[in-house]
Symmetry: C2
Subunit: 721 residues, 2 copies
């Protein structure tokens, strides 16, 4: 049977899982009338926001689709539209499940902690497996259509398949940056605004129904942390697996009979890991203890361990003999398309080794190990049991200033271990199987996306459940349980972001290799010098590293500005109707939701276009000044500059934000004076600062890096065509 | 006359200026007995700290000197010791002047604003010209000794001169990172600690004599902002001018008769700009207005404008015919030592253009223009008249959280324009005269160091003067005048840091070129691949970019920890003797100074050794895993990674910190509720956060970058020898 079809079937299995499990979730108790009323308000707000967001994105999307069609032809444009629509579907569906699971989780938590965990985690698993399944279906389906139905071949001079896959990745990336950033601005503007005017000014607790911004805050969890995150991971999956296939098509084009199974192999790995992810979800149980993080780990470990034989099986199925050398004969035949991308000085013969199926297996295992290590490091930096979070909590005793200083110190420090892990991953994978090794490590990382996203998507559901319990006036014991469930949410949310940006570190090398290989193919006579000795390479690196800074600045400013608007609106509502604070009249929740919606949509446009336009501007300006070959050199360096700069910006922001949030929770648990103490006030400030760090600017760096890379690939194709 | 001797004479002129002007400053009224008593306490504390700091550094220095002597021989070791000692002299002398000028400035401000400005600026100018003069004397004197007296030649196979200059730079850099970091930790631990426990907890104003940490805070201004800064700029000068000479010796070794004047030319440019800097200092006057920044600008502009003909004169004096081509014949003769460092594929003949004296003149002008632009951009981001600072002040209205969010957003944004200026500088200079063009732009930037440091060193003097006026109970009008003088201090301090890191951006390319040239000379058979296509290059870039993050984390943590100690000590003193708060008994200032001293010394060691050890570890680990040529490739990439990462860390921290500080000042001037308002409290938090950003972690990145580069050069020489 065609391996791609197997992958498609496994992708459909994920969708089936989502369908069946969502019926279970939706069939459970939806709580009392008051709870349902609150949930309906959140649903309505989230739907209204996403509708407006996707309408705006659609306008940009249509313009870009037309441009892609004009410059690159109908297939890339179709890929773009497909990627864009499925990214939207992944985000939207995630939100739909999430806004229905929240109230049901609150109701289930009335019965017990395990019940609450089961319901919340199942709804997270639906999102997780839909993201992985839809992403796999998008690539596998489109690839199957192009090759088996439309009859395009890989490996010859026909570039249709490669261009189509790049177009697909572009669609997924472009939508996801808008969704990540728009959702991120929405959720944090509402959260920061609600906290500032509620907790700080009016002195009412979090999630108090008298706060007009409280529904907006809960809507934000769904459109940002759920829908935005889902779109982001959909993008990461499509780009990483797609890049591995593109690199295979470019580097191994002469592999003959092996080319077809090699192209399908990344899809197959994704497919078998969907099965292991589904199995893993059933192992997330407390087993008598109250260690929620432990329950999560059980599920992840089962998935990771089962994935080892599953990936081995996939490799054997595709390659047959695991010891046979792949690639070596290709190199000896064609010196210009060498397998590992090292610069071979022209005229100098160099022997480059190929790789075996076993090498790819070890590289895949390396990817699983990197994922595990990143989870472990993230828990260390954001969990309440370890030095970093506790040091921030302790620094809160001496005030707001020292809390923020220590938080910033931790955020800077938190970049070190993940970077060392990624660097070690690059070195080992490259030693094992060259660039293809790095690509397989990244692919194996993403193959676990179903499980990783499940852990993350669980967070906003429990967060909302707590809010609903508070607003509906449920017994305090319910809120205690949802708080217990929510406590690990900060860590799991940080995990996904570290995981996404970590995989981007590997994928960036793969995308850069695709860029240089394409460049050689499209402009064979141009001697582009990517050496660090070429000052235009330094120029490109510096400009690339600047992008995440500028992007982060825009995201942070947007949140600050929109949060300020929220504060003003809430103040107005309080001033206009004293009955709100007295609890006798209801605030106008919809007005605040509407205000944040407009602000988020307006603010997401310019920063999202930055990574689209920057590569084009840099190429043309440097070409004008120093010739086309330096234009291409600077553009290539820009692609790596954006990951060299962006990796640190993203890691520091997401880990730092998580640590600040949990330092606050740690104090609220009764340490350093507990709730209401001076240390707590300082910790609330730190949490507020961390909010746009971890949920707006930081995570959006990941799709930004990809877009820059993909735009460069498309620019190359457009210039050549 | 020997051009080097001319430079030496001009360097001596700077020292003479320092001597004469310091007699003027010391001869002026030193205030009443109470003021002198306070000043004496500050002096004593500063002297005690620096004594202990330099003793500790000396121990490290002796160990390193022995290692340098063992691995590289006596000349580099002598250079190292010379650079180290003169760096210490520059820092120490700056402090000596500063602690005596502070009380005299307070006394002069009693007479009038112009009198205060004149005295404070003169003392700044002494430090500025001593830094530039001593740096010039160090290089010119050592170079003269090596060539004219010891008889070593440049351009042949004798590497003594090059190795000696690199050793000199290493000495300057190693001392300066300790001084910058140690002083930075001292000043900010004292400042943050004093503010937290004084302003926030006890509710007493800044510089209140009842605060036991108040003398430590004032000591900090002198040992950090003055001595540390002076050592830093001394280092920047020595490394930049030294690197230009090293590059000349390596690239233009076959220039024959032109080589000697080309070697002396950077020294001569430095020399003539000492004259223009001295002239400029006499133009810093208010001229009836109260625009202190305007007075500063006048002085700088006079220096910059006069430097244009002065540099032209220096070029003509050295080169004679400004239109004659330099370098072109060298290239045609020896393809492997091409002038601009572009990778020439072996066996392919490439014609590389030389450059003329006029080209170097335009590049020097470019350096002056970059300096002017960086000053202008820094003023925009840190001055109270523009959007950035005002946006932070406005965000303070909604609390601590939004103040910090907006401050972080501004700090991220503030990297963009300087980066674009540096990138444009690289492109234009390279177009004009290749790598030598970039080196001359950087040299011309540093030639203005006398003036730029003067503007900076003025700041801590006025800051101290205000403190003394407050503590001595002088009339409020005096404090108002010192506040007016001090207000521009935040901007001028930020300017120097932006200037230093900006020049490092250019110098890094020069140092990298020295590295690659040395590599080819020492290991001619090794084909090191610096292309971005080599994954070990990416590994090096990532590890290099990590260094400033890790370094920043250590610096921030150190300040937080030491400030916490200060808070505890002050609390103890308040609790132990209620008479302190009542004003009836004197706090034990010396105890706090001593505590901060010990903490700063202890905390500066490990982060300072990071850039020394990192290149060595990376080289050996990668060599072990992937062979020596990849070890050298990763090491080279590390050098550029540290600037690509460090430029943004340093720019964002120094500009952001300055903006936070001035946002607080802006509110204190009566905006957004003024002193004591909620906005003011939030702004104090922002200022506290900005303190270690701008005065500890941020500025120390500059020497860190240099050390990494110099250690790599020394490692190469050691491996070859």
């Amino acid at each position: 049977m065609d391996l791609t079809l197997v992958a498609i079937i496994l992708g459909l299995l994920a969708v089936l899982y989502g369908f069946v499990t969502s019926r279970q979730v939706l069939g459970s108790d939806a709580g009392n009338a008051k709870m349902q009323e609150i949930a309906a308000a959140i649903q309505e707000g989230a739907q209204a926001y996403l509708k407006r967001q996707y309408t705006t994105i659609a306008i940009v999307g249509v313009v870009v689709a037309v441009l892609v069609a004009l410059f690159l032809g109908p297939v890339p444009a179709t890929g773009f539209v497909l990627g864009a629509i499925l990214s939207g579907v992944a985000g939207y569906t995630g939100m739909v499940i999430s806004v229905r699971a929240n109230v049901r989780t609150a109701a289930a938590a009335e019965k017990g902690l395990q019940q609450g965990l089961t319901l919340a985690f199942r709804s997270g698993a639906i999102t997780g497996l839909l993201v992985a399944g839809l992403a796999l279906l998008a690539i596998a389906g489109f690839y199957y259509y192009l090759t088996a139905i439309a009859g395009h071949s890989v490996g010859g001079t026909d570039r249709t398949v490669v261009d189509g896959l790049v177009g697909l990745a572009f669609g997924a990336s472009l939508i996801s940056i808008f969704a990540r950033l728009g959702g991120g601005i929405f959720t944090k503007a509402a959260d920061v605004g609600a906290d500032l005017v509620g907790k700080v000014e009016a002195g009412i607790p979090e999630d108090d129904p008298r706060n007009p911004a409280v529904i907006a805050d809960n809507v934000g969890d769904n459109v940002g942390d759920c829908a935005g995150m889902a779109a982001d991971l959909f993008e990461t999956y499509v780009v990483t697996v797609g890049a591995t296939m593109v690199l295979t098509a470019l580097l191994l084009k002469n592999a003959g009979d092996m080319l077809a199974p090699l192209m399908a192999l990344p899809l197959l790995i994704g497919g078998v890991c969907i099965v292991t992810s589904i199995i893993g979800t059933y192992f997330v149980r407390l087993g008598g203890s109250t260690n929620v993080m432990g329950a999560m780990y059980k599920g992840f470990l089962v998935t990771a361990v089962l994935s080892i034989p599953a990936i081995y099986g996939a490799l054997t199925m595709a390659l047959g003999d695991m010891g046979a050398l792949i690639g070596a004969e290709v190199i000896s035949g064609a010196a210009s398309t060498n397998i590992d991308g090292t610069l071979v000085t022209e005229g100098v013969a160099e022997v480059v080794g190929g790789f075996t199926g076993m090498d790819l297996f070890w590289c895949s295992l390396l990817g699983l190990a990197i994922t595990g290590l990143i989870i472990w490091i993230t828990e260390y930096y954001t969990g309440t049991s370890y030095r970093p979070v506790r040091s921030i909590a302790k620094a809160s005793e001496t005030g707001h200033g020292t809390n923020v200083i220590q938080g910033l110190a931790i955020s800077l420090e938190a970049t070190a271990l993940p970077t060392l892990v990624i660097v070690a991953g690059i070195v080992v994978a490259y030693q094992l199987a060259g660039l293809m090794g790095i690509a397989y490590s990244a692919t194996a990382m993403l193959a676990l996306a179903g499980m990783v996203v499940a852990l993350d998507a669980y967070g906003p559901v429990t967060d909302n459940a707590g809010g609903i319990a508070e607003m509906a006036g449920l017994d305090d014991s319910v809120r205690e349980k949802t708080d217990l469930l929510d406590a690990v949410g900060n860590t799991t949310k940080a995990v996904t972001k570290g995981y996404a940006i970590g995989s981007a570190g590997l994928a960036a090398l793969v995308l850069f290799a695709a860029y240089t290989t394409d460049l050689k193919e499209f402009f064979p006579t141009l001697d582009v010098n990517f050496s660090l000795e070429n000052p235009y390479v330094i120029v490109g690196l510096l400009l690339g590293a600047l992008l995440p800074y500028l992007f982060g600045a825009m995201g942070m400013t947007a949140v600050g500005r929109a949060a300020g608007d929220v504060v003003k609106d809430v103040r107005d509502q309080f001033a206009g109707d004293p009955g709100i604070m007295a609890g006798t009249s209801k605030p106008n929740y919809a007005r605040t939701v509407d205000l944040v919606t407009k602000a988020a949509i307006k603010e997401m446009i310019v920063p999202s276009l930055l990574p689209v336009l920057a590569p084009i501007v840099v190429y043309f300006v440097i070409t004008m000044v120093a010739g086309q070959q330096n234009g291409f050199a600077a553009l290539g360096a820009l692609l790596l500059g954006v990951i060299v700069g962006g990796l640190f910006v993203a890691l520091s922001m997401t880990a730092g934000g998580g640590a600040w949030d949990n330092a606050k929770k740690y104090i609220e648990d009764g340490h350093h004076g507990g709730k209401g103490s001076d240390a707590h006030h300082a910790a609330v400030t730190g949490d507020t600062v961390g909010d746009p760090y971890k949920d707006t600017a930081g995570p959006a760096v990941n799709p930004m890096i990809k877009i820059t890379n993909i735009v460069a690939l498309l620019l190359l194709a457009a210039l050549a065509g």
